[in-house]
Each structure stands twice: as C-alpha cells, then as structure tokens.
Symmetry: none
DNA sequence: TATGAATGAGTCTTCATTCAT
DNA sequence: AATGAATGAAGACTCATTCAT
C-alpha cells in the first residue's frame, strides 16, 4: 500500500480503553483487598482477583508482577492517606488539643466501624510473621506516625495544663487501645459492640479517659 | 462445641507404658502452633510440623485427621485453661475487686509479653474471615468469658463504691484495650514497647485508669 | 522448499520512500538470531526479539506470522548465500583444487571464528529433533551442497594427480571435521582454541591433511 | 520405650517398593533423556517424563528438585563413565599408542552410531547458551579429558617415533573431528553416512590420518 | 505501520492426603 | 505406632498470539 492513507486524523475521541487502563491498577487493588480479606492472602486466587477486577488472571500481571507485589502495593495504597490525615489533624489541633483528640477518636471510631477499613490491619496482623517487612512498613508508616501525632497532642494538652502531666505513651495507649479492641470484637470476633453507636462509645471512652474511675468525694 | 474433633483416644485405661506416644498429640500441637505462627496457617507445611514434633509428615495424621483439625485442636487446647483461670480469678476477687483487677492486669501483661501466648489470638485474627466458626469459638470461649469476669469485678467495685458507677463495658474496654494494643505492637509490629517493663506498664495503666487525665486543682 | 513462508511482501514496486520499513524484516531476523542463540528457540521471547529489533512485540507479527516462521525465515536467510558461495568457489577452483581448498578452509575458519556465523548450525543441531524439516532443509541446502563442492575439488585434485586416489568422502570428512570440531569447542564449550589463530590452524590442518602423521624415512 | 521390644527380625523379605525406589532415579533419568532428546529441554514436560518413568509428575520431584536439576543430573550420570574410560584406555595404551588410537576410534565410532549416546552432546550444544555451567561442565569433564588422553597417546607415539613430531593439538583435531562430524550428519541431519559401516570408516580415517593425501612417488 | 492491552492455554512446582509395608 | 513412597488437585506465572485503535 504505497500511497499514503493516513489522513492525519488520530484520536477522534479519546480511546475508551485508555481510560480503562488508567483505572485498572486501582480496580485490581480493590479486587485484591476484597479477595485477601475474604480468603486470606494465601487462599486468594489470582484468577479470582482478576475476575473481580473484570480482567483475566494474566491481565493482573500486566500491572503487578506478583501476588506479593500486589499485597505490598495494596498496603501502601491504603495506608498512605491515613497517616497523612492523622498528622494534619494533629498539627491543626495543637491549639485545642482536647477537641482535636475527641474529633480524632470519633473519626477513628467511624472509620473502624467499616469493615473495609479494618481489612488492611487485619491482613498485616495475619501476615506479619511471614512478611516482616510488611509489619515494619505498617509500623513505621502508620502506627508510629499516628502515635507520634497523638503524643504531640497529649504533650500540647499537658503544656496547656488541660490534663495533668501523665506519661504521653500511657495516654496514647489508653486512647487508642479501647478503640482498637472494640474494632477487633466487631470485625474479627463478629460480636456486636459499642462501635454500633460511635457517639456513645466516644462519650464513655472520654469520660473514663478524662475522669478516670476513681470514686471521688 | 463446633470445633471438637474426635481423635478417638479416650481409652479409659491410659497406656502408661508408652509415655512418648501419650505425649505426641501435645508435641504436635506445639509444633503446629509454632509453624502456624511463623508462616501462617496456609503456608505452614504438614511436613514441617511433623519434623518439628520429631515425627514424619504421615505421623501427624495418626493423631489428627487433617490440617484444619490440627488448627481446631490447637485453639481448643490453648484456650480452655485461660478462660477458666480468668473466671476463677474473678470469683475469688470479688472480695477485693481492685486488687484482683490489678493482679489480673499484671498477669495478663506478663503472659502477653510471651509471643507464644499471643500466637493463638493472632491466628484467630488472621483466619476469622475464612473460618467464622473459629471466631465464634474464640469469642464465646475466651473473650466473652474474660469480659464477663471483668464485668463482674467492675460491678463489684462499683457496688463496693470503690469506683464511681461508670458503664462496666466501657471500663472493660479501658482495662483490656491498652494491654491488647501493646501486645500487638510488640509481637505483630515488632516494635519494642511498654510490655518490656510490665510493672511500670501496669502502674501507668492503672494511674490513668483510676485517676483519668483530668487536671485537678 | 518446505520452509518457505509467504510473508506477502512481493510488491513489484518496492516502497523506496520508507527505508526503515524496508529494513525491518532483516533487523528482526538479526534480533531473532541473537535471541535464539542466547536463549534457545523455546526460551526466546517474542517481546525480546521485538525490543532488540527496535519495535514492539506485536510489531514482529506484522512481518512474520509466528515464532516458527521467524525461525524458518531466519535459517533460510542465513543459509542461502553460504551454499552458493561454496559452489561458486568449487567451480572456480577446479583449475587449481589444492589452492581452492586452502582458500576454502581459511575462509571457513575465519567465518567460524565469528559466533554469529555458527549460530545457525547450533540452532539446527538443537532443534533437529523436534523440527525434522529443519534438519532436512539444512542438510540439503547447506551440508550436501558444501560436501558436493568439496567432493568436486577432491576429485579434481585426484584427477590432476595432486593427491593420491583416496575416497573423496573420507577426504571431505578429514577436511571439514577438524574445523567444525574446533568451532564447537570455541563457541559451544566456551573453550579457547585454535580458531584464535586461523592461519596457524590452517597450516597445521593442511600439514596433517596432506602429509599425514606417518613417520617417514 | 523402656522394655526392649525389637526382636531384631527386620526385612523378612525385602519390600518390593524399596527396590523400585532404589531404581527410580535411574529410570527417571532415562525417561528425561528420552523426552529431552525428542522435544528439547524446554518443550519436554515433567508430566511426560514422569509417565515415561512410570510415576506421576509429582513423583519426579521426589527424586529431583527441579527440571534443571534433572538436566544436570542427567548430564553428570551419562558423562562420568565416558571420561573415565577414555583415560583408562589412554593409560593402558601408551605402550602401543597407535593400536590404542585405533581401538579408541573404533569404539567411539560404534558408540556414536547409537543415537542415545549422541543425545547428551546434542543437548549440551543446544543449551550451552542458556546454561553456561553446563557447557563448562561438559568441557572440563568430557572434552578436556578426552583431549588430554588423546594428547598423551599422540605424545607417546611421537616419543616412540611411530609418527612424526606434529603438533598434538592438530593431531587430536584431525582424529576426533571427522568422527564427530560424521555423527552429526547421521543423528542431527538424518543423513546416512559412513557411520553405517564403522570398520570401513575407521580404515579410511586412519589411512588419511596416517598417510595423508599427498601423492607420493 | 505500529502498539498497548488483553487473554487462553500451558507448565512447573507445591502440598495435603493416602497407603503399603 | 510409624513412615517412605506416591499422587491428585490446585495455583502462580509465562508467553505466543490477537485486536482495537
């Protein structure tokens, strides 16, 4: 075909599959999270992940080189925003630490009430033995950051004499622990619990947190 | 008992003359726990479990009919004593609830500091998605019982006006949560934490628990 | 010609205005030869061949309908000129057979010293079991022709009483074998050998060839 | 087991499958050689190898950890005896080098006439690009040893003034090359050739080898 | 002409489980 | 009671090939 036949009109409208392709990684990650959560990392089948994402098994490998890579990408993708949020909130809240803590707790309770948000921590817990880097990543990128943010707030509260000078680490434990435990009961043990009513949970939580249990005159 | 598996060894006259054999099941369960913890349930290999127990892969099947049976037996074996202890302690401690709680907390902190004691909860967390019966079993046989015991103690404390009349559920959360969270950080996230010094942990824990954080005149 | 594949490009008026495109098939064949040699036919990936040729994997299929077609075209392309040369040399050399043989040997040694020239024979050796047509093609189009040419020269030499009347087949073997063996050692077994110094190789080769090993008075 | 209960009568009759098991590796290697030869290393399927050896695909992995391990073991197993033989022959033949060489050549021709003996070299040739260690192994364990043995014999022949003092390397080439080339023609190119009549082949070979081609008065 | 996207078919490898001894 | 041998079933990963653009 010696004569030119390309009259120069390319991309009459954006190719439909380009957009698809651009979305694929995210779709796959979502599918992977779902499958991993339902079946666990090992029992999850790449084929099912692909199917759930609307492509073939081999298609998954176009975007992620291996099952573990998928896991890692998944953790990273879901984790990054969380930590950033915590940090921002902490910075913004130093002016009024107690209110910030309360807001933080309420947000956390709300988030933790959704099973999908608890899926990643659960995965990490289950896999930390075999993939220590995963645990390390999660610790440094999520927990440590959240703990640091909370510590900042507690320190600010102490500095402003809003609370008495207790050990911030103990404060952080007392703050996070109950929420985490409640999420565990709800999602892992399938018990219905306080997370069903986050407002009340937080009220009670802060009551104990602030006033303690001690009987006062 | 949904997790019961009949291994068929309930001979009234225990064969005393073969101590090794009599100990096998326990050895195997220990080996299984270790392998499950290190690699997760799926990735753990029956061969490795056998080897760790000092027998062959096929030998494991003489005592447990399948891998999942091994898991179930494992959970059952490790779980039963714990719950009973908690209950006993609670009953015995109603006379002096605060002291009992403190003792309970210290014991828990000590136990949780040992990775092997945290292994079963970890397993349950990782597998609860796929084996809901497992979660149910653990909830009813461990958590609910422990929570009930603690509730009893807190109610007793309230009745004796040792603490103010807070919601016992919130009290339980505030009591367990931080300990659980700390165990998580230590064993799952491989961070070093307060469990390294259980005495101090408990002191701080109870300080916040009892007195709260509030600044007082 | 059992290996012919119709690539469909026999346009009488060659599209001169697109030199790149016109060169593509050759570039691809070169890339294919390189990959086939490095990794073997099966382990060579179409993607790598394309990349090496500067186009995409799919691009290769614009010029060759399949991997095997690539192989066949490759063999054909590399083989044709060789045989023709040998024949021409033989014809031209009948006047002075010994000089022609020496020239032939020197040329062969020179060519065989380059790994790329030995690549096709190597491929054929490795694949002849699975693709008998390949072996047949190579035999009829290369070896038989070369052997025939040599036979002609030896017969001429005998006729001219330049050598004694030995069996021409034995002479051909004695002529080619050592060169072939040396190429094998160099390229296949990665040993350094006489091909490093082709002049000396040929001198020694002809010394033994002509004078034999026998001790003479 | 406190009381002795092993009355010492083990192996009343050798268990049938023990013998099987003892033979398995060899059976598998044979099967592998056959499959590799027929289809090439890559195209050979572990399943077929197993089937040919009378066991399942998984069974093969009981004896060899991977396909490449199978290949390596195969080469080693088939190669070791050959080299040893050559060496022994050489040592034994130094007293009468020419006779030894002749015997060696005849033996080689006979062996090379059997396709199965040529299978390993062929494999090595086809795979040397991808598995250089294979080539190295073959060179050091087979070719170098054979060449060394031949060199010894030629040196002995020279020392005993049975042949004139030619370069031994050239002599070795002249000795092996033609035989190797003929095997190639027969097995690879499927041409019928001189190997069909080994006696005559060797006679002609030695005629040229010893007396050369030169026309003598 | 050229390619990014996609996949079906295929292979290696693993492992829980069984069984003859 | 114990195990070496064996396997069926399953899953990760690869790649030649196709196609819409």
């Amino acid at each position: 075909m010696p004569l030119s036949h390309s009259t120069g009109k390319k991309n009459p409208g954006a190719p439909r599959w380009k957009r698809r392709a651009a979305l694929r990684p995210e779709e796959i990650l979502d599918a992977a999270l779902a499958e991993f959560t339902e079946n666990g990392f090992d029992a999850a089948r790449m084929e099912d992940i692909g199917q759930r994402a609307g492509i073939s098994k081999a298609g998954v490998y176009l975007y992620f080189p291996s099952k573990s890579a998928l896991l890692e990408a998944l953790i990273e993708a879901k984790v990054a925003p969380l930590a950033r949020n915590a940090e921002n909130l902490a910075a913004a809240g130093e002016a009024n630490p107690l209110a910030a803590l309360r807001l933080l707790a309420r947000t956390a309770a709300l988030l933790l009430a959704d099973a999908r948000n608890f899926a990643v921590p659960r995965l990490v817990i289950g896999l930390s033995g075999r993939f220590p880097e995963l645990a390390d990543y999660y610790r440094t990128h999520v927990v440590d950051i959240a703990v640091a943010a909370l510590t900042r707030l507690f320190n600010a509260a102490i500095a402003q004499q809003l609370i008495r000078p207790i050990d911030p680490a103990a404060a952080v434990r007392a703050f996070i622990g109950p929420l985490f435990f409640e999420a565990m009961r709800l999602h892992v043990l399938r018990g219905d619990g306080a997370l069903g009513n986050p407002e009340q949970l937080i009220d009670q939580h802060f009551d104990v947190l602030m006033n303690g249990m001690e009987q006062r005159a």
